[in-house]
Every structure is written in C-alpha cells, then in structure tokens.
Assembly symmetry: C2
Homo-oligomer: 137 residues x 2
Amino acid sequence: MNEAGCIFCKIIKREIPSKIVFENDLNLAFLDISPISKGHTIVIPKKHYSTLEDIPEDELAETIKVVKKISINIHKSLEIDGYNILQNNFAAAGQVVKHFHMHIIPRSYDDDKFRLEIPKNQASDEELNEIYGQLKF
Amino acid sequence: MNEAGCIFCKIIKREIPSKIVFENDLNLAFLDISPISKGHTIVIPKKHYSTLEDIPEDELAETIKVVKKISINIHKSLEIDGYNILQNNFAAAGQVVKHFHMHIIPRSYDDDKFRLEIPKNQASDEELNEIYGQLKF
C-alpha cells in the first residue's frame, strides 16, 4: 500500500526521520519540516492515496477525526489564536506531495506571516445560476 | 440547534436564499455568493457548531464525506485543474461566520487569482524538537 519514491510513505516506514506527534492504526501526524508557522502539522493516512478523490470515505472519516484531535491539542499546547485546515488537490491547487494529506496551520495575531490573498467578488445572479445548473445534484 | 443571528443557520432554514447544490439529513452545500473562484462551494452541518472543536466526530465524518462527494462533482462538471479544501477556525485564522464550514475552492492554471502566500522556512532541529516536546501524545 506504499508507493515507491513517495516521501510520505518513506516517513511512515521510518526510512526518512520525522517528528511524529501522533500515530494510530490508520493515520500518522508529523511536524512539517518547512513550517508555515510554529506547530505546522501534517496528517496523513498510512495507505497511499493521491487525492481526496482516491481515499475511501471511511478512511477519510478516520483521518479528519485525527485532524480534530491534533488541532485541539495544538490549540491547547501552543500560544495560538486559531488555525487553518488546508488540503490541496492536484498541482494547480499547490499539491506537491502526491500522497493525500491535511495541513494544520496554527495562526496568531502576532507574528503571522501567512497570507491568503483572496480576491472576493460579488457574483451576479446570472453567474451563480450558470454554475448552479452545472453543479446541482 | 440553530443559532439566532447566524447567517448559515438562516440559509439552512431558507430565511436567506442561496444556491443549494446538495443537501442530505445532516449537511448542506451551497455556492459562496462572494466566490474566490467559479464554483466556490461551502459545505456545512445543519446543526450549529462554531469550530472544528465543537462538531462531534461522527458528524464531522459525515461532513467530510459530503465535501468529497461535492469536490468530485465540481472537478467533473467544471473546467478546473484542482481545488483546495479550506477550513478556518477562530478569527485569527480568517473565520468570519461562526458556524463550522468547509470551503471547496476550484483552481485552474488559467485565470487563477487565488494566492496562498506561504513564507516557508526550513526549521532547525532545535525548533522542531521544542514543538515536538509540546505536541507529542
């Protein structure tokens, strides 16, 4: 269930050292070695899945439960004011490692270098209706 | 289970109109009226929880399953190259509406205005060890 050459699979197999803060049967949480902020943690399933589209529902459910558990611990243990959960799918969205993973990014009012530049635009009703027609179940 | 004054609770109760692309017993997905990109969708539990720390594990699991389902549909239906899942907790992390929600943000190589400015820094072993000591289970 590991993929040759996958850096996260190597972390799971301890072929690459990392600071593993939590582990259970299905998931692993470790510190990002290039942290966006202090305490930046990555949660991964131990089985190799590329994106959100590949991880089975039940295993995804277990991963998000671990994300919640770790997030609460980060919030309690570090002096932070909040945190973002970020999960990128495909290169266009900034996914670098092709092993499904969720980032926990601690945020604080002081010394916050993280910037989410979001050009929000009020959508017209026509625009929303067009998308609505394409997406409605 | 609704909270007075909560804009998302009002969307659930149809007191505020919105483009609801999916709904089941526990969750609702609707188009963001100030989209970061075309197809920007928000998934929420119908019960009011403030942050990731408040929503019970089992309900969180159901919400992420809906996020997966909607994401696959967005990827199939719109001409996009990827997407981010973003979930903000507390004001310091950019949370505006205090009703737990997950963003699905479509991304494309063309015409992508979304910028995640991330000053990544290689952490020293001392820095990682300090955090590791605080976070390890």
